[in-house]
């Protein structure tokens, strides 16, 4: 007993603060989803070490999906407890079992159900054997769960590290590619940097409030009116910076494009979904439920962060020709939308953020799965030109990707629309009109680059010159000439555009031009999609459409999650 619970015991002792080791009552059922993931992970690890010959990657994938389903069921059981008995704390008040936490347990479980499907296809194609991806994904998932249910800054820190360290390794999973290793290193250095900042923030907060327990900090702050304690505000700022790094909010986003681009694509999708889920879970809980009294101090900062994140994410994504990098910037833009809910700091805002994170996780996983499939062996090439004619070669895949991208753009009748609507609604309800307008404007800019990919997928040289007069051989030559001309314009315009906001409104029009270029259409890359990936895509696209047309259950879920807080 003491052996297996040493860490938690020590934690409990520190929380109780009563000299001597007084072991708290450990209610394992409250952390059952986490335990399922960690226990399953150990079993997978042992199985792979003990089996006489290497097991196929599909076996691990099946096991991981099974564990994801198991933890989903365990989470839903917790949800039932919470809805019938109300929120409660467990394990020496270091674990919060409330609607908010359970919502994220469900999100993480869903990510873990879908992600292995995409990974299985990729790892098989790349010939990467072994159970590393799945083991690391499971550890990372448990970290995100701890972050969501933690009621103590130290536990949040532990969860953050349990979440992040496997992600560093996942980014470098593909030994053969130099870019993968580089991505891992960049992610690691900046991740460690942000962790250090975060810990220092905890230390300062601890010094100012006398505790690391969120409930106690909240109680302390409600007892003592503190408006300008330098140590406390400094701690708060450092905490925010640490979180901003994890969720890739501008100006702490600089690692995102490189890491997303370099990491093996299924790892990128997983990283994008999981890091945001865990990061936002803790960020929302710490700031909205623990520091509401200091709202006037942190709200303006979040306001600025949100605007920078929204605008930069959308604007820089426009000029990307690498689809993976474009999606990286678009994920920054999405982070800005989630911050919208935090800035509102109301129940509605939190519900909007929760909903957004859930929707975004599935969209981003599915999108990167398609990118992995189209990118070719060894993530060879993610240039947008590779997508030309995909609608003809793989119509179903292209339509699926189109739906995911349109949903990310916020097209009506997809989950994407309601997620954006939810947070914007919260912002308007909180009278942040400017922020709401900027968010919607950035969605307009973002829509452009999603549509551009869709457009390229469904345009061909044959279709491109669809004029009625001069069809046939002469037409292709003409289209080529036009394209060359437009490309020239494109280059000069982009050169001058820079970061100028005005130019970016005009520039996209020209950036769109490259799809006119026939580029001689070299050999069209083969795109192979394994049944695993297909299954995962069907899940993601299906959820996007079903909950886009019938969002009520998901909206209710997010709404209830914030009621039992």
């Amino acid at each position: 007993m003491t052996g297996s619970t040493g860490v938690l015991g020590a934690l409990a002792a520190h929380l109780l603060g009563a000299g001597g080791l007084v072991l708290p009552h450990l209610n394992y059922s409250t952390i059952l989803p986490e335990l399922i993931l960690l226990g399953g992970m150990l079993v997978i690890l042992a199985a792979s070490a003990l089996s006489p010959r290497p097991l196929p990657t599909e076996v691990y994938a099946t096991a991981t999906v099974g564990l994801g389903i198991a933890s989903l069921i365990a989470s839903l059981v917790l949800w039932r407890d919470v809805t019938s008995h109300g929120a409660f704390t467990a394990i020496a008040r270091s674990i919060d079992v409330d609607g908010f936490a359970v919502f994220f347990l469900v999100v993480v479980s869903c990510i873990l159900i879908v992600a292995p499907m995409f990974a299985a296809g990729y790892l098989r194609r790349e010939g990467i054997t072994g159970c590393e991806y799945y083991v690391l994904a499971l550890i990372s998932g448990s970290g995100a769960m701890f972050m969501a249910s933690a009621n103590d800054l130290i536990l949040i820190f532990l969860g953050l590290e349990i979440l992040s360290i496997p992600l560093y390794v996942l980014a470098g999973l593909d030994h053969r590619r130099e870019a993968s290793g580089e991505a891992a290193m960049k992610y690691f250095v900046l991740g460690a940097f942000s962790s250090a900042i975060f810990v220092y923030g905890i230390a300062l907060t601890y010094g100012a409030t006398g505790s690391t327990n969120l409930a106690e900090i909240g109680a302390f702050l409600s007892r003592n009116v503190i408006t300008s304690n330098g140590v406390l505000l400094g701690g708060l700022a450092l905490l925010l910076v640490g979180f901003a790094f994890k969720v890739a909010a501008v100006p702490f986003h600089m690692w995102t494009p490189d890491v997303y681009q370099g990491a093996p694509t299924p790892a990128t999708g997983f990283m994008a979904a999981m890091a945001k889920a865990g990061g936002f879970a803790a960020l929302l809980r710490v700031f909205v439920s623990t520091f509401p009294t200091l709202r006037t101090s942190w709200q303006p900062v979040v306001w600025v962060l949100a605007i920078l994140t929204l605008v930069l994410g959308a604007v820089v994504a426009i000029v990307q020709n690498d689809v993976k990098r474009m999606l990286a910037y678009s994920s920054i833009n999405h982070a800005g939308f989630v911050l919208l809910g935090l800035e509102a700091a109301t129940a509605r805002g939190i519900a909007g953020s929760l909903y957004y994170v859930f929707v975004y996780s599935l969209l981003v996983l599915g999108s990167f799965a398609v990118v992995a499939a189209v990118g070719g062996n060894g993530d060879a090439d993610h240039d947008i030109s590779r997508y030309r004619g995909l609608g003809r070669r793989r119509p179903v895949l292209a339509v699926g990707f189109a739906i995911l991208l349109l949903a990310q753009a916020g097209a009506p009748f997809t989950t994407g629309f309601f997620s954006k609507f939810y947070v914007v609604e919260a912002a308007v309800a909180a009278h942040s009109y400017a922020l709401a307008v900027i968010a919607m404007g950035s969605a307009g800019v973002a829509a452009f680059f999603y549509l551009r990919v869709v457009f390229v997928m469904f345009s061909d040289v044959g279709i491109a010159g669809a004029s009625d007069v001069s069809r046939g051989g002469g037409e292709i030559a003409r289209a080529g000439a036009v394209a060359a001309e437009v490309r020239e314009q494109d280059a000069t315009l982009l050169g001058g555009a820079g970061a100028s906001a005005v130019a970016t409104l005009v520039a996209p029009a020209y950036v769109a031009a490259p799809e006119l270029a026939p580029e001689g259409t070299p050999s069209e890359p083969e795109v192979s999609v394994s049944p695993w990936v297909t299954t995962g895509l069907v899940l993601c696209v299906g959820a996007t459409l079903v909950f886009g047309i019938w969002p009520q259950p998901l909206v209710d879920f997010a709404h209830q999650a914030t009621l039992i807080f």
């Binding site: 002792a13 390794v169 470098g172 030994h175 290793g181 960049k186 810990v199 905890i202 230390a203």
Partner: protein, 101 residues
């Protein structure tokens, strides 16, 4: 003799700043790691100082967690570096230049 707590805190803040600046300006990955360690230890020093000032054991316990996490981080970090630089001569961050950033 007793030294006032604020001196420790100032020292910790200085260490933290040195670590942060070092990480941002140095290009040798190993030195960058050390800078991260410096930052983490600055946080530890802050924890201990506050624990002493508040007469609360919690801060000291936190230090253990930070130490453990730091060790785990270093293990993974060194693993990544070894994996990358097995094929290279030096260990400078500038050698990693395939990605745009």
């Amino acid at each position: 003799m007793s030294v006032h707590a604020s001196w420790y805190l100032t020292l910790a803040a200085l260490l933290f700043t040195i670590g942060a600046v070092g990480l941002l300006v140095r290009r040798n990955v190993l030195v960058m790691f050390m800078c991260v360690e410096l930052m983490l230890n600055a946080a530890n020093l802050t924890f201990v100082t506050f624990a002493r000032a508040l007469d609360d054991i919690g801060g000291q316990v936190a230090v253990f967690f930070v130490l453990v996490v730091a060790a785990a981080e270093v293990v993974v970090g060194l693993g990544i570096i070894v994996a990358i630089f097995r094929r290279k001569v030096g260990a400078t961050a500038d050698d990693a230049h395939m990605l745009k950033g």
